[in-house]
């Protein structure tokens, strides 16, 4: 798979053979099953995957909030805790609200006081687009405003590495645009950004590269254009009992084909072209549905995973 970034730039983040399991009431959950990811300094990388893919667990290990069962993490050549101690890392975690009884400006100032060389507080407020609510108490903010304040908290240290775990989940469309404008501005300063998302569009629009995760593994890693083509953007489902799957997979605009009983499922990069070709060649196709491909479904097709956990992998260490 091609890499967008030239090899001369120093390594920002390096994840090697990371493995992490949890105990849960339903038995052990192998959240991350051996992943390797390298991010160059200055790169913006999307960690893309459906819910439960292991993105947040990976980020927790990257930030030193969880200890890996196996494998190593380095940030600019240092351990996560060393990198964090120097203020080189800023993060917006997936879950989390703001502490009460402070104004937005006070909260950002409080956090700035913890870092050796923070960004100017007013500059941070402007960058995050929250100068209008700077004098409001943190518990009086809307969901979108809260997310932007959390972004400011992540940015105020002027970190070299910014980690964002599904940052735009609580935002409306406008809020998202504003948020990513902020992040682009920040990335333009030569900063390294890693963000987790389950929106393919977000990865496509804002990342140089996407790392696809599914079921605790990296299933693809490359420029977002490549990833987008692999995942496909639409799915066509039709009742077509006797059609040959291989032939269907070769229809124009179709990436993969799959069968569920009498139904076939075509994952498409261009569903308009694909549906015309399908109807032309298979006039008997019935019950046709076209839908935006959920990442989950797209990934399952991509990984050839039928939804059952393959138990022979239980004893694995780091799987490439």
């Amino acid at each position: 798979m091609s890499r967008l970034v030239e090899g001369s730039r120093p390594t920002g983040v390096e994840l090697r053979g990371l493995v992490k399991s949890f105990r849960s009431p339903a038995g052990p959950v192998r959240a991350v099953r051996g992943i390797d990811v390298t991010i160059k300094a200055g790169e913006t990388v999307a960690l893309l995957g459906p819910n439960g893919a292991g993105k947040s667990t990976t980020i927790d290990m990257l930030l030193g909030l969880a200890a890996p069962d196996a494998g190593t993490v380095t940030i600019f050549g240092r351990s996560p805790s060393d990198a964090i101690a120097t203020g080189a890392v800023g993060a917006m975690l997936q879950t989390g609200a703001l502490i009460r009884d402070l104004t937005v400006r006070e909260l950002v100032t409080m956090m700035a006081s913890l870092y050796p060389s923070p960004m100017d507080v007013e500059e941070t407020l402007v960058l995050a687009g929250i100068e209008d609510v700077a004098d409001q108490r943190t518990n009086k903010l809307s969901g979108g405003e809260t997310q932007r304040v959390r972004a400011a908290v992540a940015l105020v240290s002027d970190p070299e590495l910014l980690v964002l775990d599904e940052p735009t989940v609580a935002m409306d469309v406008e809020g998202r645009l504003a948020f990513w404008t902020t992040m682009r501005t920040f990335a333009a300063r030569g900063k390294t950004i890693l963000f987790a998302t389950h929106y393919l569009d977000e990865a496509d629009a804002y990342a140089d590269r996407a790392v696809l995760m599914a079921r605790g593994r990296v299933v693809a890693d490359g420029p977002t254009t490549e990833i987008k083509a692999m995942v496909g953007s639409r799915t066509i489902r039709a009742t077509l009992p006797d059609a040959d799957l291989t032939a269907l997979g070769q229809l124009p605009g179709v990436v993969t084909s799959d069968r569920h009983g009498d139904a076939v499922i075509l994952s498409c990069t261009d569903s308009d072209v694909a549906i015309r070709a399908l109807l032309e060649q298979y006039a008997d196709a019935r019950d046709i549905e076209i839908s935006g491909a959920g990442l989950e479904q797209a990934f399952l097709q991509l990984t050839g995973d039928d939804g059952f956990v393959d138990e022979d992998e239980t004893a694995e260490g780091a799987v490439r």
């Binding site: 502490i99 009460r100 402070l102 409080m110």
Partner: protein
């Protein structure tokens, strides 16, 4: 340690209305209700101490106990919104994090003690500077186990469960400690001598030239302080290890 960080911790604590009322206003009102009518009782319950002085220390101990234990509520609140995770990805070390919590707890405790001292002098309490200082010193040392207890429960319990635990513990400790009436004999006395709040209230004995704590008091307090600091450290480590 970051002074700015502690400044904002204090500011937050002050702005918390419920905390303010329970830690500062509540003991103050109780003091005037209980000690006011007994203003002229100079040998309260056979202790040799005047009622205004006895209750001044009793309620100062109670208020200081409440304010230090209340650290737990703030920690639990921060944990609930995931703020402790946010702090763990800053250069704030565990030592400075806990240090800021303890400093905040002590500042609030000192304030609640001062409020009671002023109220005491209004009701006629007069002590030498030496006695004021010695008494205050003993109370501040005696708050160590309570500050540690606050950190312990804050990292053990959730926001929902911590209220009853804190309120119940403080009420019971106040009762057994002698905040409401002197404990000088019987089963309650036997129990009281093993309880840290008892020794907090005993600090008032300084005023009659008596031994504030004596060896027994110091040993009891040291044991509680060590035990609570151990539990607090363990709870903090466990909590920060969990994902």
């Amino acid at each position: 340690m970051s002074i700015a960080y502690i400044r904002f911790e204090l500011l937050r604590t002050f702005r918390n209305g419920r905390f303010f009322i329970f830690s500062f206003i509540f003991p103050l009102i109780l003091y005037f209700i209980i000690a006011g009518p007994n203003k002229n009782d100079h040998d309260f319950g056979g202790t040799g101490i005047s009622a205004p002085l006895y209750y001044m220390i009793g309620l100062a101990a109670f208020g200081a106990m409440m304010t230090t234990i209340a650290t737990g509520a703030r920690i639990a609140g921060e944990r609930q919104v995931g703020w402790n995770r946010q702090l763990r990805i800053t250069p704030l070390s565990a030592r400075n994090y806990l240090g800021a919590k303890v400093v905040t707890a002590y500042m609030m405790a000192i304030l609640s003690i001062l409020i009671l001292y002023i109220s005491g002098t209004i009701l006629g309490v007069r002590l030498s500077a030496e006695h004021w200082l010695e008494m205050t010193g003993l109370i501040l040392v005696g708050l160590v186990p309570f500050a540690a207890f606050g950190i312990f429960v804050g990292h053990m319990l959730t926001v929902d469960s911590i209220g009853p635990v804190m309120g119940g513990t403080a009420s019971l400790l106040a009762l057994v400690g002698g905040t409401w009436f002197p404990i000088t004999s019987g089963v309650l006395f036997d129990i009281a001598r093993f309880v840290p709040s008892y020794w907090l209230v005993q600090a008032s004995h300084v005023s009659i030239g008596g031994h504030g704590w004596g060896a027994r008091g110091w040993i009891t307090m040291a044991a509680w302080a060590v035990a609570m600091c151990f539990l607090a450290a363990r709870a903090y480590r466990r909590d920060t290890k969990r994902v």
